[in-house]
């Protein structure tokens, strides 16, 4: 090497800033949360004494269980819908749209709405779903309903709708990326053997895009699990989730109980992602 460092040292030098930031701002802070979860607290202060109460509180009441039941329901519903939507759109774009130009245009069209701030995008449902919103006006105008439907907005329905609206792209992207790697000759071979379109999807395409599904699943599940903002604003503060509960305690400056709840969530997320990553090597998958 002309600069006079060994290749290994060169790699270390290149990775050092990245590794330092991840250590100082992710690994160490998460460790501090674990430590603080075992500390006592007073009004807006952390008392550095060992205290197990933050942990026993979590498991004493049924509140924790209720919160996780809610978020689990959200995760399952949103995951299933984004998977079907994302898969169908990706399949259409990659196997039915034949011109590269139109495929690029359609893919861009899916991304453009995300240039608008997420906050504005969630408020944009109000004129559609509110009591005097377009959907209710249209349904009443057509005589389907006499009274405006009130569960369209500030309800669990609107929370799930906004999740699906925002997260379908996170599922679509990785799936489309996996589909793009399937050689057209594989599909042609299946067709030549007399496979129907449905058989080709089930027997050929789905097994080949599993890595994409895994990555998309990680994005969608962790996003819903960690969300406290959408669930609050779109449910009108009626639905609470574990992340929302953590945010409430942080805002009330009750750090040690918030820390205990954070550690619980951290363990759940890392176990989930760790399990999924056993089935797919992300690094290999991206570099392929």
């Amino acid at each position: 090497m002309a600069v006079g460092v060994s290749p290994r040292t060169a790699s270390w030098l290149q990775a050092t800033p990245f590794a330092l930031i991840m250590t100082a701002l992710v690994i160490v802070p998460l460790g501090i949360i674990v430590v603080v979860s075992f500390m006592d607290y007073g009004f807006a202060e952390i008392i550095p004494e060992f205290f197990i109460g933050n942990w026993t509180d979590i498991f004493k009441s049924t509140l924790t269980l209720d919160l996780y039941e809610t978020v689990l329901r959200h995760i399952v519903i949103v995951w299933a819908i984004t998977l079907v939507l994302g898969f169908t759109v990706a399949y259409y774009l990659l196997f039915h749209v034949r011109s590269n130009f139109w495929r690029a245009i359609f893919l861009t069209a899916c991304v453009v709405p995300f240039w608008t701030s997420g906050v504005v995008r969630s408020v944009s449902w109000v004129p559609l779903l509110g009591r005097e919103g377009l959907v209710n006006q249209a349904l009443m105008g057509m005589g389907f309903i006499q009274q405006p439907i009130s569960w369209l907005l500030y309800s669990e329905f609107s929370v799930l709708l906004v999740y699906v609206n925002m997260l379908t792209l996170a599922m679509l992207g990785p799936i489309a990326n996996s589909m793009a790697k399937i050689s057209p000759s594989v599909i042609q071979a299946a067709r030549d053997q007399g496979a129907t379109e449905w058989q080709t999807i089930v027997e050929v395409i789905i097994p080949l895009i599993k890595p994409g599904i895994v990555v998309g699943t990680i994005f969608v599940v962790t996003a819903v699990m960690g969300d406290g903002f959408i669930v609050k604003s779109m449910s009108g503060n009626q639905v609470n989730t574990p992340a929302g509960a953590i945010m409430n305690e942080i805002n009330a400056l009750q750090y040690p109980p918030a820390a205990a709840k954070s550690v619980l969530m951290l363990v759940i997320v890392l176990l989930f992602v760790g399990t999924l990553l056993r089935f797919v090597d992300i690094r290999k998958e991206l570099a392929r």
């Binding site: 990245f18 501090i32 709405p113 408020v123 944009s124 942080i250 991206l286 570099a287």
Partner: protein, 279 residues
């Protein structure tokens, strides 16, 4: 390929159209309602057509506008710095993975951890760390640092995609011709991966601009755009909110299209050079 389209093509085309309507429907409401007449409210029908809500936005002390101007500049300043740092640190880390080295797994899995752990936990952890050290949060170190924990993992993943497509034979040719490692990077690798690097900068810029969960507790005094918009949302009674949405979308549109045009012209210039001097 058969010439006649199967029935499924038409069904899926309809499905895709419905999907686009689902994505764009709410956005179109925002754009339309931002031109609501002065008597109109936050929902339909439109009572006339005016630019009064855009004027309110730029009037000093306009109602429902809050501190949005300062928040916008705060966000821009942070997003620009985060974009440049993400590019420098992320590209360097990506280059390190071209060789095997002890510790590579730590770098990779720390990035995956940072990406999947909910943002509020990372933000909370950083604010506890500052608390322990007795430091006050400020945008230029803890704010930017918190946002880097979100943008850097994506930079690394994009680098993996870029390096995976990179043809190493170009580099070997340069070495055979006696290029130093610095010349190799400057004249061979960099020009080839430049579009990808610009992509990393854009990703850093937008992820900072949209980020609130990690930054919120750590930027010190003054809100960023997403925080200020959330605050305004609670008290919003007029279409000013929609005018902000329309303008910021327009701004992002210009930024993204501008960047794409620059990237494309860079790629074209390289192509022209290659044609002009056939190897």
């Amino acid at each position: 390929m058969g010439k006649r389209r199967p029935v499924s093509y038409y069904l899926l085309s309809l499905f895709f159209a419905a999907f686009l309507l689902f994505l764009y429907g709410p956005m179109i409401c925002v754009y339309l309602l931002s031109f609501q007449g002065p008597e109109g409210g936050m929902s339909f029908p439109m009572r006339g057509f005016s630019t009064v809500w855009f004027e309110t936005l730029f009037k000093p002390g306009g109602r429902g506008v809050g501190d949005i101007h300062n928040s916008f500049f705060r966000s821009m300043r942070m997003a620009a710095i985060v974009a440049v740092l993400t590019m420098l640190i992320g590209v360097a880390a990506g280059m390190s993975f071209r060789r095997r080295y002890p510790g590579a797994n730590f770098v990779f899995y720390s990035a995956i951890t940072s990406m999947v752990v909910p943002g509020i936990l990372v933000g909370f952890g950083i604010s506890l760390a500052l608390n322990v050290l007795g430091l006050r949060p400020d945008w230029w170190y803890s704010g930017i640092g918190a946002q880097l924990t979100w943008s850097l993992p994506f930079a690394l993943l994009i680098m993996f995609i870029i390096m995976g497509r990179f043809d190493r034979s170009y580099e070997e040719a340069a070495t055979d011709l006696g290029a130093t490692s610095r010349q190799r990077f400057q004249y061979v690798i960099l020009p080839l991966i430049l579009p990808g690097i610009i992509g990393i900068m854009m990703a850093g810029f937008t992820s900072s601009y949209e980020e609130a969960a990690r930054g919120a507790l750590n930027i010190g005094t003054g809100n960023t755009m997403p925080m200020e918009l959330t605050a305004l949302l609670g008290a919003a009674t007029t279409p000013v909110m929609f005018a902000i949405g329309t303008l910021t979308t327009l701004f992002m549109f210009v930024t993204v299209i501008g960047t794409l045009l620059i990237t494309m012209s860079l790629a074209r210039r390289r192509q022209l050079r290659l044609v002009a001097q056939p190897a």
